[in-house]
């Protein structure tokens, strides 16, 4: 009785494997395959944490070293554009979650729609970032031969003009070097993410992803949320913490 039951189960298994062509032969079940892919993605994100961690560490060290000058340079950033970009990214995280929900419910066109919405928001973020970069070029706040910085240290406005102290341009240049390295690396991740979602949107439109198989959507979603989290910290450290000084 038991053996025959097992044979029936095995037969059902084989049928199940035929029903799900995405299940590779070296995995026992679709769930095992999905967990393996998910764990691999998390390990990738763990090394991304260390990658961005190095940049954050450099920022903390130099902010400690050139505290007043970093305060001055940080106040040159446009907090309105930074806040807008934070909101845009949070909205894009929502569209990613809605895309995953759509594929789980088997709604193909909704999946394509939310993937395209994510791409649009990602491009909006990059556009706003490009605008911010353009402003830095105009103000000569881009590190290099044409770098020019003549701004007061924080809290110097209350003194008579002759006694006011100005920030050391070399120290401010270090702030902008780190600003461009960190936001540039983040923007590169965004560009890769937009490309990834474009690929997924095409595949989704072709009907590749079903409630039984949507691991690429889920893992691209993890990547996108991670990039969102990096921005949450970049926004806090670069734009916010020296605003009050």
């Amino acid at each position: 009785m038991q053996t025959s039951q097992a044979a029936v189960d095995q037969h059902a298994d084989q049928e199940h494997a035929h029903e799900n062509p995405a299940l590779l032969h070296h995995f026992a079940t679709a769930e095992q395959q999905k967990n393996a892919a998910g764990l691999g993605m998390w390990l990738f994100l763990a090394q991304e944490v260390m990658f961005f961690g190095g940049l954050f560490c450099a920022y903390l060290v130099y902010r400690y070293k050139y505290f007043a000058d970093f305060g001055s340079a940080s106040q040159q950033l446009d907090i309105r554009l930074g806040t807008t970009n934070t909101v845009v990214l949070i909205c894009s995280s929502l569209t990613v979650v809605l895309a995953i929900r759509a594929v789980q419910l088997g709604k193909r066109m909704a999946l394509v729609f939310w993937l395209l919405a994510t791409i649009l928001l990602g491009l909006a973020f990059l556009g706003i970032k490009a605008d911010e970069y353009a402003e830095k070029f105009e103000k000569h706040h881009v590190p290099g031969p044409s770098f020019n910085y003549h701004e007061l240290l924080p809290g110097q406005e209350k003194f008579p003009a002759a006694e006011r102290q100005y920030a050391n341009p070399h120290h401010a240049e270090m702030f902008f070097s780190l600003y461009f390295a960190m936001t540039g690396m983040h923007a590169l991740h965004m560009i890769i993410g937009v490309g990834l979602f474009g690929f997924l949107a095409y595949k989704a439109w072709r009907g590749k992803y079903t409630p039984k198989y949507y691991t690429p959507i889920e893992n691209a979603g993890l990547y996108w949320h991670f990039v969102d989290i990096v921005w949450i910290y970049l926004f806090g450290l670069l734009y916010l913490i020296d605003r009050h000084r």
Binding site: A7, A46, T83, I90, G236, L237
Partner: protein, 109 residues
């Protein structure tokens, strides 16, 4: 072997994927936007050294919400995910804490 296979097949049927409700997706979204508003508002109030603490605390709350709900960590059946996240944060902490312990104690040179 076939018994094992059918057993794990059954668990996979039971442990069907968590589908977030539309309401919870939107609730987290509203919470993230509220956190952003709060942290920007707090940035303009002079709290001295506490400005940094407030900004980083709100950022960490936002990041935690994203990881738990949007990255589905709260609902995952894979226990190793938690281990990977905790180790990543732990080694990031070592990188930052030990580097700062060095640079902030070089005053005697």
């Amino acid at each position: 072997m076939s018994d094992h296979n059918s057993a794990s097949e059954q668990t996979s049927e039971h442990a069907s994927e968590h589908i977030s409700s539309l309401g919870s997706c939107l609730a987290i979204w509203v919470a993230l936007l509220a956190g952003t508003t709060l942290t920007v508002a707090a940035a303009f109030i002079d709290l001295g050294p506490f400005n940094t603490i407030v900004a980083l605390t709100i950022a960490t709350i936002k990041a935690t919400l994203v990881v738990l709900f949007y990255m589905h960590v709260k609902y995952t059946h894979e226990k190793l995910t938690g281990l990977v996240i905790v180790s990543a944060i732990f080694f990031l902490f070592i990188l930052l804490a030990l580097s700062m312990a060095d640079y902030t104690t070089r005053l005697w040179r």
